[in-house]
């Protein structure tokens, strides 16, 4: 910086400085106390305390002082705390025990915490303390490596908008109360969970839902707003005593669905029981459809056909073949694709893109068949797709 530049430095008013500080990780913010005596305690009024992975490993490398640092920051901090996050890598939290996290949570509840992110591995799943379940200021809750076992009188989080659970154990009863007792919930993400097998969703404001893991049954009861649903079922065993019309039940309750991902195990789930030729009520809002199909399973194909026939407004369609089926031979079932897309009276009009995501070893005849999907519509474009799934949904 030249002398001239130094002279015309514009001084930013305090409220703008605070705004900048709120975008910095806590480690950076705390370091500003060294700038001058005026800055020494400025950080203590910052409402967001974020100990991200970089920060935690930096603190942990300093002779296991992490515990002391977080205690110190919470003690010196002045004012309300909007957000508290700890994200650690494995082994960084050696010196931290569940008693310490319990103490921090108790403190945060008194500060009316709104956003809580706990992504910590302390050598075992951390048991969420009961006091957190009475914290009604929570808007966003993200828990990883935790056991969620609320007291029996727990009725849900009345203000909660977003819930993310990854690698958590939750009892069936607790899960039901979490979902059905949080009426403002808009976003739900579940990844690798255990302790419950039935997912029953009664959430009038839910807009986004994503599952990755194993469950036996799923039902939507009161979800008029749900626009995006991604089902990444990792395993499904057809149970004879299960629901007999999964497909009908599911789509009947998702009138606003715009975007969905259905993996092959979830297709299997939808295929168990009655599969009609068309849904009684078409999915008028469905625009983006990502399907992972086992082309050797006729029942799955029939579900896909039913969905396509019932979705007149598809703009983006992606088809993917699961990796495990790399040696799959093309069966007669695969040919129904050609029929579907080449018939003059074809019900499906793809307006923007059909995306074919090739697997390394996918059967070349199958690829040829898929590429011939170009016939689907003059506007449709078939592309070989190498990007990630998330890119597909955002593009």
């Amino acid at each position: 910086m030249t002398k001239a530049e130094l002279d015309r430095i514009s001084f930013l008013p305090d409220h703008l400085i605070d705004r900048i500080l709120s975008d910095l990780p806590t480690m950076e913010v705390v370091r500003t106390s060294i700038l001058s005596s005026k800055w020494k305690n400025k950080w203590t009024a910052q409402p967001n305390l974020v100990f991200d992975k970089q920060c935690v490993s930096a603190a942990a490398s300093q002779d296991s002082k992490l515990l002391r640092i977080i205690d110190h920051v919470l003690l010196v901090h002045d004012g309300s705390i909007n957000k508290f996050e700890i994200s650690s890598s494995i082994n960084d939290l050696n010196s931290v025990t569940s008693v310490d996290i319990d103490r921090w949570i108790l403190h945060l509840i008194k500060k009316s915490i709104k956003v809580l992110v706990l992504d910590v591995w302390i050598g075992e799943y951390y048991k969420i303390p009961w006091c957190l379940f009475s914290c009604q200021s929570l808007l966003h809750l993200k828990l990883s490596f935790c056991r969620v076992k609320p007291p029996t009188k727990f009725e849900g989080f009345k203000k909660l908008k977003s819930l993310e659970l990854k690698h958590v154990t939750v009892t069936q009863n607790a899960f039901d109360k979490l979902i059905n007792g949080s009426p403002l919930l808009e976003r739900l993400l579940l990844e690798h969970f255990d302790g419950f097998t039935e997912i029953h969703i009664d959430a009038p404001n839910l807009k986004f839902i994503e599952f990755t893991g194993k469950f036996e049954d799923i039902s939507f009861d009161n979800t008029p707003q749900l626009a995006a649903a991604y089902f990444n079922l990792s395993f499904y065993q057809n149970r004879l005593n299960g629901r007999s019309n999964n497909l009908l039940n599911l789509f009947d309750h998702l009138p606003r669905l715009k975007s969905t991902l259905i993996c092959t195990h979830f297709l299997k789930y939808l295929a168990s029981g009655v599969v009609p030729l068309e849904l009684p009520t078409p999915c008028m809002n469905l625009r983006t459809l990502y399907l992972e199909i086992d082309f050797n399973d006729l029942k799955q194909i029939s579900v896909v056909l039913c969905l396509l026939k019932s979705s007149p407004n598809i703009r983006k369609l992606a088809l993917s073949v699961p990796l495990k089926k790399k040696n799959a031979l093309l069966t007669n079932a695969s040919y129904c694709w050609e029929n579907l897309f080449s018939l003059p009276a074809m019900p499906l009009i793809v307006r923007q893109k059909i995306i074919v995501k090739p697997d390394v070893n996918v059967n070349s005849i199958l690829m040829t068949k898929l590429i011939s999907l170009r016939k689907a519509s003059v506007h449709a474009e078939v592309v070989n797709y190498g990007g990630s799934d998330s890119q597909f949904f955002s593009s």
């Binding site: 130094l6 430095i9 514009s10």
Partner: protein, 176 residues
């Protein structure tokens, strides 16, 4: 400064005869350069819009004494992209590439004055990124802060805050 503003206000009254809602809005920079923009752009600038609303749309020339003719085109460009829904990561990266530290701060002040929330959020993050992991000396210069600690006091603080210095630039490598 106050006199300059009021004299501009007087000359504004002449243009009051054109209250049509589709008329372009004239933004007058602090150094008296006029920028004509669509009313939709003005809507992005809350300060400008509330000025227009208060006068029932009769006044379409708005003096912006705190904003220079150097900064205003950047603000307008960002608002145009915002309306078109074309604020992408690529656009934002290109947008800040052109700006030095001082210009970013000036635009940040302009966004604050005009009350453009998206631009404020964006520039706040840009400044945060530009000072992250930078040495104490660099940040002092960035904000124009005078160090009033004695060397002993500073050394003691540095020791207490040692954990916050992981990955931070050393003091002598921060010219630019």
């Amino acid at each position: 400064m106050a006199e300059e503003v009021s004299s501009q206000m007087n000359s504004l009254s002449i243009s009051e005869t054109n209250p049509s809602s589709s008329a372009t809005i004239s933004l007058v920079s602090g150094d008296d350069i006029v920028f004509k923009v669509e009313p939709t752009i003005a809507k992005e600038m809350e300060t400008v819009q509330s000025f227009i609303d208060e006068t029932d749309g009769k006044i379409t020339t708005i003096p912006l004494p705190n904003i220079s003719s150097h900064d205003l085109p950047y603000v307008i460009e960002y608002c145009e992209k915002s309306i078109a829904g074309k604020i992408t990561k690529e656009f934002e990266a290109e947008f800040v590439k052109k700006l030095n530290n001082e210009e970013v701060k000036e635009l940040f002040l302009a966004a604050n004055y005009l009350n453009i929330k998206k631009l404020l959020d964006f520039l706040s993050q840009v400044i945060a990124d530009r000072i992250a992991n930078k040495s104490v000396e660099y940040v002092r210069r960035y904000f124009g802060i005078e160090n009033d600690f004695t060397p002993e006091e500073e050394a003691k603080l540095r020791e207490e805050l040692a954990w916050t210095f992981t990955g931070v630039d050393p003091d002598d490598e921060d010219e630019n």
